[in-house]
Point group: C2
Chain length 273, copies 2
């Protein structure tokens, strides 16, 4: 039986989605469709959401699961009257938190992903532009003196997505430098990395996974051959060891996992709170 | 009085942070420091977390607020014995959800931001690389036939961060095209956009905000002058209207808000669930 899952929110819906996703990954056998209903900020849109939920209850012939993050109790109550099974984060946590803090909540909608502090927000956008300008150290201008961290690794080890994620999520200035065979044969660090030893962090990957990824991009080439990938991953690991560079095996890790493990393994302080 | 907030998780800590952030933005007068304790996956690390929370209770001379997402009840119970005020999402939602679904949860830790489906995950990484390769339509190779959406707007309206966010969060292929004064004087669309009318989406911004942003980057230049920004934003809006391009005023919006509003305003289907 397939279920339908709704994410109902007075803002972007992202908090509700992330919360729901965390719960639903605990039920890996569950088949479901999903629908996000964002920006529910008045009675009318809440009523339209109820209609959608009730229609889905008919179509799927089962109770829709509804994850919601609605600040206004009045809108939550409307959603609660739908045919959905409703789990609301504010309903669960806001009142206990008010008691503990001894402060009433502001009940302002759509705050979670709003700009907040404009200075902090600007820093985040600058971090994204920095990551772009500093991507692929081989071919572009370098700004390593401004970098919080320089990711070092072979092509297709996730350096670029990780740099961007570090920028978007944490406001960190992440550059990256692709290493290749010519770097392995030298006893010294590539010239452009010299002086930045304390900012280097290696991304390592298993040879077979690297080969599989490259094979998708350039099938039947030397670049994607198992032998070449074996030599490169061995060379990269020796490079990290020789130059005393902390590194992480990213083979089984998502970009979020790589990024948070880097934070945990270094003394990097995030700029976004 | 300053509070200390902990985010405790058996995975990256991101779900816990986002949930906590959603709650804490409801208390805008609250001053607090924050600490994330990720990858709490065994008794020992849970006990270390308890020690940290208790030490913080001493240092801050007040009860720490603890947002946690711990799948294992055994580890939650340890954290509950700390001196923190603990709000756990799994404790609140997992049991009701088990009942509703009639399925026991898998109780597997660290699932929420794990790779999940490798094919979907690969699509996401490809989307990030696509956004990078398609950034700044003026100077690089274009792949608009592969694009799900082409963001159109002046320099510094958030096209690039939004493209990247759409890629990372939703797996969408987002290109972008910077418009400038030469585009406003023509009656036809820029040549490279022709044929892709249905993929265009405009980002618009108020002149004073644009001037303020540019002033930070290039102070006292024509580029950042109020007059120039006024002419450009007016030209851009006329351009959107003349070519019947849907657009959004992003002046007060975060990247998350821009991205989710684009999804709501178009029929784009996200690739990541």
């Amino acid at each position: 039986m397939k279920r339908i899952v709704f994410y109902v929110s007075d803002g972007t819906g992202l908090t509700s989605e992330i919360l729901g996703h965390a719960m639903l990954t605990q039920f890996p056998t569950l088949q479901y469709d999903r629908l996000t209903l964002p920006y529910i900020q008045d009675r009318e849109s809440a009523q339209r959401a109820v209609i959608k939920i009730n229609e889905a209850a008919e179509s799927y012939n089962t109770t829709p699961i509804v994850f919601s993050t609605l600040v206004k109790a009045e809108h939550r109550e409307l959603i609660n009257q739908s045919k959905g099974f409703v789990l609301d984060a504010f309903a669960a946590f806001l009142e206990p938190l008010e008691k503990e803090l001894g402060v009433r909540s502001s009940l302002k909608v759509g705050q979670s992903h709003a700009i907040g502090n404009p200075e902090t927000y600007r820093a985040r956008i600058e971090a994204v532009h920095f990551a772009l300008e500093s991507d692929d150290g081989g071919s572009r201008a370098r700004h390593y003196e401004k970098a919080d961290i320089i990711l070092v690794g072979l092509a297709r080890t996730g350096k670029t997505p990780t740099s961007l994620y570090l920028a978007l999520q944490f406001g960190l200035f992440a550059a990256n430098y692709p290493i290749s065979e010519k770097d392995f044969t030298s006893n010294t660090l590539p010239k452009s990395l010299a002086g930045y030893e304390n900012k280097l962090f290696g991304l390592h990957i298993d040879a077979d996974r690297l080969a599989a990824t490259r094979e998708k991009l350039q099938p039947n080439t030397d670049y994607s051959s198992p032998e070449r990938c074996y030599l490169e991953t061995n060379g990269a690991e020796s490079f990290f060891l020789a130059h005393n560079i902390k590194y992480l095996n990213v083979t089984e890790l998502s970009v979020e996992e790589i990024s948070t493990r880097i934070l945990a393994a270094t003394s990097l302080k995030r700029r976004l709170q």
